[in-house]
Symmetry: none
Subunit: 182 residues, 2 copies
């Protein structure tokens, strides 16, 4: 933004790129802090330098880093969903298990609702751009519970598989069951 308009693409020239990086990162951090001050909102910026071992973080590291780290891992979970998804492994016996689990899940859900931590999020159906502090807090617990359920199911599956392996034609672990796309 100065003597010349810059194209939005990778700056090949090494020196220029590094200079630009330093300047812009500095400006960015300033901007974030300003926004936070002016509007009193929580915000976090993390910038990993190519050669720098420790990323630049605002505000003071630890906390922000963890939050961001977690956030960045979420997409991986999405991948995990696809991974385990394949074609039938064990299909019919679990019906009853499902029933009971579902029942318990329903109870869980009712509690969740009672916590009123989500109609907004779930309501959008997909227009989720961000999570508020309240939502994150609520979600943390919710996720914990859900993850716990999944873990237990997996445990059961593991034991079952060891006890009586079965030949399958496809990929057995249909994770969509755990992480439905919709």
């Amino acid at each position: 933004m100065a003597r010349k308009k810059v194209k939005l693409e990778y700056i090949a020239n090494d020196a220029s790129r590094r200079a630009t990086f330093k300047k812009r990162r500095k400006g960015l951090i300033k901007k974030v802090s300003e926004l936070s001050t002016l509007c009193d909102v929580k915000a976090c910026l993390v910038v990993y330098g190519h050669d720098e071992p420790v990323p630049e973080v605002w505000p003071s590291g630890a906390d922000a880093v963890r939050v961001v780290a977690r956030l960045k891992r979420m997409p991986e979970m999405e991948q995990s969903k696809k991974m385990m998804d394949q074609e039938g492994f064990m299909r019919q016996r679990i019906a009853k298990l499902q029933e009971q689990v579902r029942k318990l899940e329903r109870e869980n859900r009712e509690m969740e609702i009672s916590l009123s931590m989500n109609e907004r999020m779930l309501g959008g159906g997909g227009g989720l751009e961000a999570i508020g502090v309240e939502e994150v807090t609520g979600l943390a617990w919710l996720v914990e519970v859900k993850v716990g359920e999944v873990r237990r199911r997996i445990e059961a599956m593991s034991k079952a598989a060891k006890a009586a392996p079965v030949a399958t034609s496809g990929n057995p672990w249909i994770m969509d069951s755990f992480f439905p796309l919709n």
Copy 2:
């Protein structure tokens, strides 16, 4: 940065603050993406809006959030019917089923506790401001830990499967792809 120089302090005027927030957050996100593009560095920005139910996250904030939402939405688990089961695979699973049910029931109890804790945090008549980055971070960390547990569980299953192979047409067990360590 315009008609008048702005003081670096909380903007008391509600309307002005909101307007400024929207404008600056937008600009900030643009800046982050530009830096990332120009210098090819990893960066992440998270902005929690006060009134905004949804915080803005860059990059792929939407995706991350969507995943969480999906977890939360995990209601019916209809597809889970396909999940396990193949040909009479788990038969005496009832026992384990019951065991799982017990565990889920325990979870319900735990959740009730969580619920009360959560209410306390969220309570106070909209005193959401009371929730600091600390709390959110802690919860986020908890979730991360839980997710890690599941991942390890799945890895263990993967090894077990290799030890006692099951005929498959694909290559279902590349868990590292699903749960990259990094």
